[in-house]
């Protein structure tokens, strides 16, 4: 058998054997990793859910531009083209007077009196351009280009105005904070988790520093000593990743039957569950990658100091 292969299989074997021989230490380390990885996973899902909520709110908000009946079609088309070209615009739709009337009738289908009243006069509903913004915080540029003097004569009224404008701006501000807070939470939890896991593995290795120095004295190579510790730490990471994903999964299954509500405060549980199930494999892979990476890096770093040779004279 190839010598390198023998060494490699021994490192794997020793890592697994040590994992079981240090069962309590392993369980403690895994428990810590499960908790931290679960928090990270939870914050990722929460962040995605908040983003979705923000997107839903944004989707409901648009700016309607009501045109004067006298507006020449060529200029109207030009305004539409201009608006479409703006960077923050998701879409622009145009309804001429007839279409606008139809839509109005549909929206108020139950109110026969109102519809009768409208039909008695010549169509009072103005042609309408509806602009959907991408980002509520950057509505200003849309407003500016609507208010350009060349179009003044075309436009009767703009919905982004007065108290409605104030409300939209407030929503924009709130969603912006929500988005930032979500991202910040993910980053903070991830960093804290990395530190806690690193510390846990470092303590586990500190407990066994004698082993490291003994192996060093007997002439074992750096990787022959370090390898099993890395294998062990990676095992922690893999188990913790699976358990954390499983725990979140169970949580969603349990909550969907236990909770009648579809949301907890701002958190849309339905969407969170959908997001989790839709991205199950991606999230599992990410958790595994995180667990393996932190495990491997921390064990390499933590073993380093016990493997150094004396250099002082």
């Amino acid at each position: 058998m190839n010598r390198k292969f023998i060494t490699f299989s021994r490192i794997l074997h020793t890592g697994v054997v040590n994992f079981f021989r240090n069962a309590w230490l392993s369980i403690a380390a895994i428990a810590v990793m499960i908790i931290t990885l679960t928090i990270v996973l939870f914050s990722v899902i929460t962040n995605a859910t908040f983003s979705n909520t923000v997107a839903q709110i944004t989707a409901k908000i648009d700016i309607s531009v009501y045109l004067n009946d006298s507006a020449p079609q060529a200029q109207v088309n030009q305004l539409i083209a201009n608006l479409r070209a703006l960077p923050n615009v998701q879409g622009v739709s145009y309804l001429n007077k007839d279409q606008a009337l139809k839509e109005y009738e549909q929206q108020n289908a139950g109110n026969t009196q109102l519809i009768d009243a409208i039909n008695e006069t010549d169509n009072p509903i103005p042609a309408t351009i509806t602009v959907k913004p991408n980002d509520l915080n950057k509505i200003q540029n849309i407003e500016n280009s609507i208010n350009q003097s060349q179009y003044k004569a075309l436009i009767g009224q703009v919905s982004y105005n007065g108290s409605r404008k104030v409300a939209i701006d407030r929503i924009a501000h709130a969603t912006d904070i929500l988005k930032r807070a979500g991202i910040a939470a993910v980053i903070i939890f991830a960093v804290i988790s990395v530190l806690i896991i690193f510390n846990t593995i470092q303590m586990a290795i500190f407990n066994r520093r004698d082993e490291l120095t003994i192996m060093r004295l007997l002439g074992a190579s750096t990787w022959y000593i370090r390898g099993p510790f890395v294998v062990e730490a990676i095992t922690y990471g893999v188990i913790a990743a699976f358990v954390s994903v499983l725990m979140i999964r169970t949580l969603f299954v349990a909550s969907s039957s236990a909770l009648q509500a579809t949301s907890l405060g701002l958190l849309d549980i339905n969407y969170a569950a959908t997001y989790f199930h839709a991205h199950f494999w991606t999230l599992l892979t990410l958790q595994l990658a995180l667990g393996i990476l932190i495990g491997a890096v921390s064990s390499v770093v933590a073993t380093r100091r016990y493997l150094k040779f004396k250099t002082s004279k």
Binding site: I6, N18, L217, L218, K310, K313
Partner: protein
């Protein structure tokens, strides 16, 4: 085989060195006993030979390897050539007796077949047959010592360094250990033994080096214990 030329070792900023300009030459296949009181510098001498410590000054050459030219990554290779029985055994606490001895062979990449053929023989020599699956914590002091010896000799090193290998043993077992050392010396291994045991020194009639206050005060063949 072992050559020390005016080797001095001072720990930290202590005024008196642990070893003071020691010069020493040990031939291949020689059996040398180093005696001296606690703190005389015996263990420091051994720690220099295993390159656990670097000398403050002086030259060390062991088995043709000049320690001044030794790179860090070559230290493991050096240590594999030297068998060491440590005063405090230094057994791996999470491994069985068999695995502790096998470890010395594993790190040089020996095959499983070699390991399973060699380890039982060595355990026979040190009288530990039947205790292969015990953990170090389940063994008596003397048994642990013998595991340490088995581990040191299993690779059939060219040089064996034994730091007080009879320290925890009753006279009968102590002699068993000495006989093992004599046997492997007989097969060609250079042995460096430190001991406090006057009786052993006197009966062995080998070269005795006496260290006092970090200096060699006597170095005579076939000598008796005298401090």
């Amino acid at each position: 085989m072992i050559l020390l030329d005016r080797v001095t070792k001072t720990y930290g900023k202590v005024a008196t060195p642990s070893l003071d300009r020691i010069s020493l030459h040990v031939e291949p296949k020689e059996f040398v006993i180093v005696v001296g009181q606690s703190g005389a510098g015996k263990t420091t001498l051994l720690r220099l030979l295993t390159r656990e410590e670097k000398p403050s000054s002086g030259k060390i050459i062991v088995g043709g390897i000049d320690y001044d030219k030794l790179k860090d990554r070559e230290i493991p290779l050096l240590r594999r050539k030297i068998g060491v029985v440590f005063q405090d055994f230094k057994l791996l606490p999470n491994r069985t007796v068999f695995e502790n001895v096998a470890f010395a062979l594993e790190i040089v990449g020996a095959s499983n077949r070699e390991i399973h053929a060699t380890v039982p023989k060595v355990l026979d020599i040190v009288n530990l047959r039947g205790k292969e699956k015990r953990m170090p914590a389940e063994l008596s002091g003397g048994e642990r010592q013998r595991v340490a010896i088995a581990r040191a000799i299993v690779r059939q090193p060219k040089i064996l360094i034994a730091d007080e290998p009879t320290g925890n043993l009753d006279p009968k077992h102590a002699w068993d250990v000495i006989k093992v050392l004599e046997k492997i010396n007989h097969y060609g291994t250079t042995v460096l033994l430190t001991t406090h045991n006057q009786e052993i020194v006197n009966k062995l009639k080998r070269r005795v080096i006496t260290i006092q206050h970090g200096q060699i005060v006597s170095d005579r063949a076939g000598a008796e214990y005298k401090i």
